[in-house]
């Protein structure tokens, strides 16, 4: 038998040690972001403000919206036309999307299980209309993405019907790779101080949040603010103290515009659904630059009050928007026949 020299032995030890540490090394060098990274910037709902990354804005709740109305409720049978008319009531999409802006539209594509009729995912024509309007307003690009909890994103994009409408409207369905979730500080976060947030949503000049209004067993309802959970990496960690933490995420992402899709509402067995008996046709769309206001109004469609929903209450207390429906200027429009 061959005798091993000391050199052989050392070489073997080095090799084994190397192979053992390789993985940790790889993980360590890649996944820990340097502390000096520019943090994402919350987008403000002021139409003149197109935030660029690098500066950190305080919560912008005190800024007065420059519109004659705070919230528009459109009712009708054609989702695309409802979106168009609702935005027209604010003076058009160009009030929110400056020329050349990069826009992110964030629908709710939470599972790959059902088509849109089951109301577990946002209405594809509502999403498509927003993409189209943003491009018409001069957006340089419109990206659409979500991070489903059940099934893969590719499958969910297709089954929800959203991919087809977004592509037809000229937008891009994007994947959400891990490395774009970057540990980010939450300015003004009460319970959640940092989270791994999806960078493209933070970097976008304009973030349009397009939830579908539906039942959820913990928060009771999934609306605009709850929909932002699709933009963070570790959602399991958020599930305790959910109300406050969702409000904290709202402080981080600060969508420019919130469009609640209540064309179909999932009344029970959310968020995944799967039974048409749980779906209620409401033919309504709620649009507001104030996410708290939009969510607050949506609660009334379920026969609830804004304060029934923990995250609405928490967000209003943080000054992220108004949940006082009586003080809001609400414009209701009927679209089509």
């Amino acid at each position: 038998m061959k005798r091993y020299s000391r050199r052989d032995f050392l070489r073997l030890m080095a090799l084994s040690a190397g192979s053992l540490t390789f993985n940790q090394l790889l993980a360590a060098c890649g996944l820990e972001p340097p502390a000096s990274l520019p943090m994402g910037t919350p987008t403000s709902f002021s139409p003149t403000n197109t935030a660029v990354s690098g500066e950190t804005l305080p919560p912008a709740a005190t800024e007065a919206p420059h519109f004659s109305t705070d919230l528009v409720v459109a009712r009708g049978s054609d989702p695309e036309e409802m979106v168009r008319r609702a935005l027209a009531a604010f003076g058009g999409m160009q009030m929110f999307v400056p020329k050349g802006a990069s826009v992110v539209v964030k629908p709710n594509i939470c599972v790959a299980y059902n088509t849109y009729e089951y109301a577990s995912t946002t209405n594809p024509w509502v999403v498509g209309a927003l993409v189209k309007l943003a491009l018409e307003a001069g957006a340089s690009q419109v990206q659409v993405f979500d991070f489903p909890f059940g099934g893969t994103a590719q499958e969910a994009y297709v089954r929800s019907g959203i991919e087809e409408q977004v592509k037809a409207a000229g937008g891009k369905m994007m994947p959400m790779p891990d490395f774009k979730f970057i540990e980010t500080e939450i300015p003004g976060g009460v319970d959640l101080k940092t989270t791994r947030a999806f960078q493209d949503a933070l970097d976008a000049d304009v973030l349009i949040d397009v939830p579908i209004a539906k039942h959820h067993s913990s928060t009771r309802l999934t609306l605009g603010m709850k929909n932002l959970m699709g933009l963070v990496f570790n959602r399991g960690a958020i599930h305790t103290k959910l109300g406050q933490r969702i409000a904290d995420l709202t402080a981080l992402f600060r969508p420019t515009l919130t469009v609640v899709d209540a064309v179909r509402m999932l009344m029970n067995h959310g968020p995944s659904g799967g039974n048409l008996d749980d779906v209620k046709k409401m033919d309504t769309i709620i649009v507001s630059p104030d996410i708290v206001a939009a969510d607050s109004y949506a609660t009334t469609l379920f026969g609830m009050q804004p304060d029934d929903i923990g995250y609405i209450k928490a967000a209003a207390e943080m000054g992220l928007g108004s949940s006082d429906l009586k003080s809001l200027k609400i414009e209701e429009i009927a679209v089509g026949g």
């Binding site: 890649g30 299980y113 994103a153 590719q154 490395f179 774009k180 067993s217």
Partner: protein
């Protein structure tokens, strides 16, 4: 210049040129089939290519198809594609091994011929191992077990790629991407690269496999054996090689060495399977010759021909004799008897979750009697839920797919495993059928559940449940909290009659370590 033409015109040189061309042709075919195999491997996924296409390699493998026929006692029409390989072998001998087999080509690529030092010659008797393996496989198949098919070259390569090569490659790419993404100048390029490469070539999510080192080690050993002898695996171990070797005895084309051979032994040292025997006038065993054509060119007189003829090749010393055959048969039967008196056979492992419908179509849930261990389902599973079993189901279950909910759940929108299975060991259920297929039943551990034991609302399991009516329901109840106050908490209950056992609740349960909700086997046969 004139000189050159002279040389080229000589008959020997023309023959040598021709023989070089044969070797080149073989290499082209080899690399092409390996490339096809790899592309089909990558396309074995949801949204990939049609199962009819990606299943082709396994269906061309006569060992897999024959063993499956014996074990399942059912004939699949698509299996008859293996007759192509049988026909090829009856005409050309083990050309499959030399020209087509992707593992053979991989072994040629990793030949380590430069690192191969002087070594003791390996006894010719080792060649009988492959026959022993073959007999063991067919015997076990006869008694309804296919676990040894994990040693078929195609399943071995496919599994190694699935369970070791791809996850490691994916990890290296992911970590590199994450590192380069931090550099502002590169982040756009990295994002574009990522979109281009996923999911077309690499999976969108990281892959995790239990016992990954074991599977990597098996592959590494098969490659490393090349250090002892070229194509060590093919010469001594490969059971498919054994089967094709047996058929090759009747092969129509045979290697012949004509007179006047002067015994220079150049062909002997060129032969990668070491079957050219100087003692026997440089004849070779058709059961060992892979028609690689490497011996043609070294022959200074170009005396080697592959000539047609009907006859049976003469036997070799290492051919299995009756005693070896009977011993192997007997030992296999004993091993099966042992495995079936393992305690697992009396009380089924409580967490042995099989892919949808597999429990119903396989006579033996432990051994998954129809499963040829090809790992296509494991490769295709989009949630990384299916894992090759090591000892979960005893020795007979080795290599069969087992669903480990804590690693991945059965996606409600997916039925790909049954679609890609080349032998219907997982039935090809439609999506509607699959969504109703019960693969297990979830039970809550109330002593650990956040809601039950800590009186905090969690509801994740209920939220995740994909069943339309929700197989997990929440009961609002007032309970005494920690500081002696009444709190209202939502307590999850499993409605067992609705639960399909997909395991998403177990996967997503936010509890540390083991989940507080676990999927158990759907039913237990009481052994009395």
């Amino acid at each position: 210049m004139e000189n050159m033409t002279d040389v080229e015109a000589s008959p020997t040189n023309r023959a040598r040129k021709r023989s070089k061309r044969w070797v080149t042709a073989r290499k082209i075919v080899q690399y092409l089939t390996l490339a096809i195999f790899l592309v089909l491997f990558l396309m074995t996924r949801r949204g990939g290519w049609s199962p009819a296409l990606v299943d082709l390699p396994m269906r061309l493998d006569p060992l897999l198809m024959l063993a499956h026929l014996l074990a399942s006692r059912s004939f699949l029409v698509a299996s008859s594609l293996a007759l192509i390989t049988i026909l090829l072998t009856v005409v050309f001998g083990r050309a499959w091994c030399g020209w087509i087999c992707p593992l053979g080509t991989t072994l040629d690529i990793f030949s380590f011929h430069r690192s191969r030092g002087k070594r003791k010659p390996i006894s010719e008797n080792w060649r009988s191992i492959k026959y022993v393996l073959l007999i063991a496989i067919l015997t076990a198949a006869l008694f309804g077990n296919l676990s040894l098919l994990a040693l078929d070259p195609l399943t071995l390569l496919f599994r190694s790629l699935t369970v070791a090569v791809l996850p490691a490659l994916n990890q290296i790419v992911r970590v590199t991407e994450a590192a380069l993404f931090q550099i502002p100048a590169l982040s756009d390029a990295v994002a574009a690269f990522d979109m281009w490469i996923r999911p077309a070539l690499l999976p969108s999510e990281p892959l995790y496999f239990k016992d990954i080192f074991l599977f990597a080690a098996i592959f590494a050993v098969v490659l490393a054996l090349n250090l002892l002898a070229p194509r060590f695996w093919c010469r001594y171990l490969c059971p498919l090689g054994g089967l094709l070797g047996l058929l090759s005895r009747a092969a129509f084309f045979r290697r012949e060495v004509s007179e006047p051979c002067k015994g220079c032994t150049l062909c002997t040292s060129a032969c990668p399977t070491g079957t050219i025997d100087p003692e026997k006038n440089y004849a070779s065993d058709p059961a060992e010759c892979t028609l690689c054509m490497e011996c043609l060119d070294p022959c200074p007189r170009s005396l080697i021909r592959f000539t047609p003829g009907f006859s049976l090749a003469e036997g070799q010393e290492y051919d299995p004799d009756r005693r070896q055959i009977l011993t192997t048969f007997g030992l296999t039967v004993v091993a099966l008897a042992l495995s079936r008196t393992d305690s697992l056979a009396k009380r089924e492992p409580p967490f042995l979750i099989r892919p949808p419908g597999a429990r119903e179509v396989n006579d033996d849930v432990l051994g998954m009697s129809k499963c040829i261990r090809c790992s296509e389902c494991i490769r295709a599973c989009p949630t990384n839920a299916l894992q090759p079993s090591v000892f979960e189901a005893g020795i007979e279950g080795f290599g069969a797919p087992v669903l480990i909910p804590r690693l991945g759940y059965c996606d409600f929108s997916c039925n790909v495993c049954g679609q890609v299975c080349p032998v219907q060991a997982i039935p090809p259920l439609s999506l509607e059928e699959k969504q109703q297929q019960v693969i297990g039943k979830a039970y809550i551990d109330e002593s650990r559940c956040i809601a039950w034991s800590d009186h905090q609302d969690c509801i994740v399991c209920e939220e995740m449940c994909p069943v339309a009516e929700k197989a997990i329901q929440l009961e609002e109840k007032e309970v005494w909290g920690k500081d002696n106050t009444l709190v209202t908490v939502k307590l999850p209950h499993v409605l067992r009659e609705l639960c399909i056992g997909c395991g998403i609740c177990e996967y997503k349960c936010p509890l540390n370590g083991e989940s507080a909700i676990r999927v158990f086997v759907p039913e237990t046969s009481v052994p009395f």
